[in-house]
């Protein structure tokens, strides 16, 4: 369970995020939808304690992120906006490095890495150096690296960026699988179809604020529209919807 309350962050005079509150429940996929520059990445960065909020509170499984940042990070598997892998290491070495940083022992690392390589169908690339990987292969490796410590909470920043249709379908299946395991999945996107297809709960962010929050059905009902797209237009205004895809 991830809970975010009244989050506020500004860089200099530019306000990036204000009064953002939402929660992401276990066994659900929560989508953070918003146009580019709406404050999604900043919100997630505060969530995984890379940035400190100016005001507000974040808790993961009841642990306060400001007070116990290391404990919170231990419970999170994060695919950040920056996907950077180490190109002179193999996919397996990249994954193992982060497992070591989580303090896992060698046999557990081996076991978890093998499992992820199987789940993500990475057999053909596991022992290859990352240099020269396709975008899809990079995202797979980065996801495996983020999940190697078997976290209960998974946070992904624009996971479908740069993926082709097949890779994207595989990613959706994988996220559903994580949900079926009872994990809490939170991801950001600017693509409407993605939230429509996947999410149990949608949080719409525009201009650094939460403008709508609810299940797809609730959002449609709230707007009195049949299609989710029309509902978005009604809720956040045509101008903001133009920033979405």
């Amino acid at each position: 369970m991830i809970e975010v309350e009244q989050l506020h962050k500004s860089f200099g005079s530019k306000v990036a995020v204000q009064e953002v509150s939402f929660s992401a429940r276990d066994g659900e996929i929560t989508g953070l939808l918003g146009p580019n520059g709406a404050g999604k990445t900043t919100t997630l960065r505060m969530l995984y304690t890379l940035l400190k909020p100016d005001r507000g509170r974040i808790s993961v499984d009841g642990l306060d992120a400001a007070l116990q940042p290391l404990e919170v990070r231990r419970r999170l598997g994060v695919l950040p906006d920056a996907r950077g892998l180490y190109k002179r290491l193999t996919a397996r070495e990249n994954i193992a490095y982060f497992a070591q940083l989580h303090g896992m022992d060698e046999s557990l690392i081996r076991q978890r890495t093998d499992a992820l390589i199987a789940t993500l169908a990475m057999h053909d690339i596991a022992e290859r150096r990352v240099e020269g990987f396709s975008q899809g292969e990079r995202v797979k490796t980065a996801i495996a690296r983020a999940l190697v410590h078997d976290p209960r909470h998974i946070v992904l920043d624009e996971p479908s960026n740069g993926l082709d249709v097949i890779a994207n379908r595989n990613l959706r299946d994988f996220l559903r699988q994580l949900k079926a395991d009872g994990r809490c999945v939170l991801f950001s996107t600017h693509i409407m179809q993605e939230v429509a297809a996947l999410c149990d709960r949608i949080v719409i962010i525009a201009g650094g604020r939460v403008v709508a929050d609810g299940s797809p059905e609730a959002l449609r009902e709230q707007a009195g529209e049949r299609s989710l797209e029309e509902a978005f237009v009604k809720i956040i205004g045509a101008a903001a919807v133009e920033g979405l895809a």
Partner: protein, 391 residues
Amino acid sequence: MSPTLAVFLKECRESLRDKRVLLNALVLGPLFAPVLFVGLLRFTIARQIEQADKPLPVVVIGAERAPELVTALEQQGMESLPPVSDVETAVREQRVALALRIADDFADDWRAGRPAQVDIIYDSSQRAGGGQVQRLRAMLQSYSWRTGAMRLIARGLVPSSGTGLLIASRDQATPQARGALLFGMLPYFLILSSFIGGMWLAIDSTAGERERMSLEPLLINPVPRAQILLGKLYAAAAFSFTSLTIGLAAFALAARLLPSRQFEMSLNVEPRVIASIVLLMLPVVFLIVISQMLVAAYARSYREAQTYVGLLQLLPLIPSVALSVSPVTPQLWMYALPLIGQQLTMLRLLRGEVVTALPPTLSSLVTIVAAIAVFLLARRTYESERLAVNA
């Protein structure tokens, strides 16, 4: 496995797979300086030896007025060149390097037993001038002294009565000390080797890691940033130290290859001295590497980091040049200056002097304190938000 160890191993492994890093840190860095140094030294020594044995070409004006003098000079190695008109202008225009003019009334003065005039014409602003002028002057003086002595004998006097003083030069420099004067730049080259050895990893693991977008995922791991910084520091220090050791070994080898016997000098490169230098340089390596990492963490890009770190490595050059150009008598307080203190101690070790424990201990303590201070600064930079987020 502790996170620090994990970071250390990963940085080393990744760097060992980078041919550019290997070439720079472990080949060019440590070997460039010794090769250049030995080449330059061999060239200088060969030139000096060659010049000492070579005939000295001198344009002689008025040779017919003093045939005996010219013959005596030629026996000492002078090579007479035919006279030119307007010799002063010829020297100024560098057509003639060195000329000897025998005065018009030389023969009259000579026969009358009066001092006879000879002019040495040269241009002291020209490089070739100094040594050759000295040689010619020495030849003339020895001829002058012999002639004077013979005149005294002819008058029934003891020649030595014309000499008030007996002057002998007794140089107290040991052969090692003379070698160390030539090798005065060696400590700087060793420091430079440490700089180059650690530089690539220091930049690559901070500014490089940020530019390749892998710093953010790294910092999301549940590891205090100070431990990540330490792992990277140890890895950069390991490369720096390896580079230093290779450079030192190359110098020790080079010192044996030099024709030092011709100069009656040698450099003390016994294993004991080499080991002392390695030990002495250990805190220096950490200070250098953590400074590089601090600078690289401040920089906004890889290129910017390269520029700053490049400037940083010129800093220790200033005292090194000062020390080798005008050697000072080391005072105890100088040993309290990081890098300078170690350079002074290294010079003394290489000269074969006895080094007491206090000065190097003082240098090491001060350097360790400085390294810790820079580490604390670097940790603050690492813990700031702007390290990982470029936005």
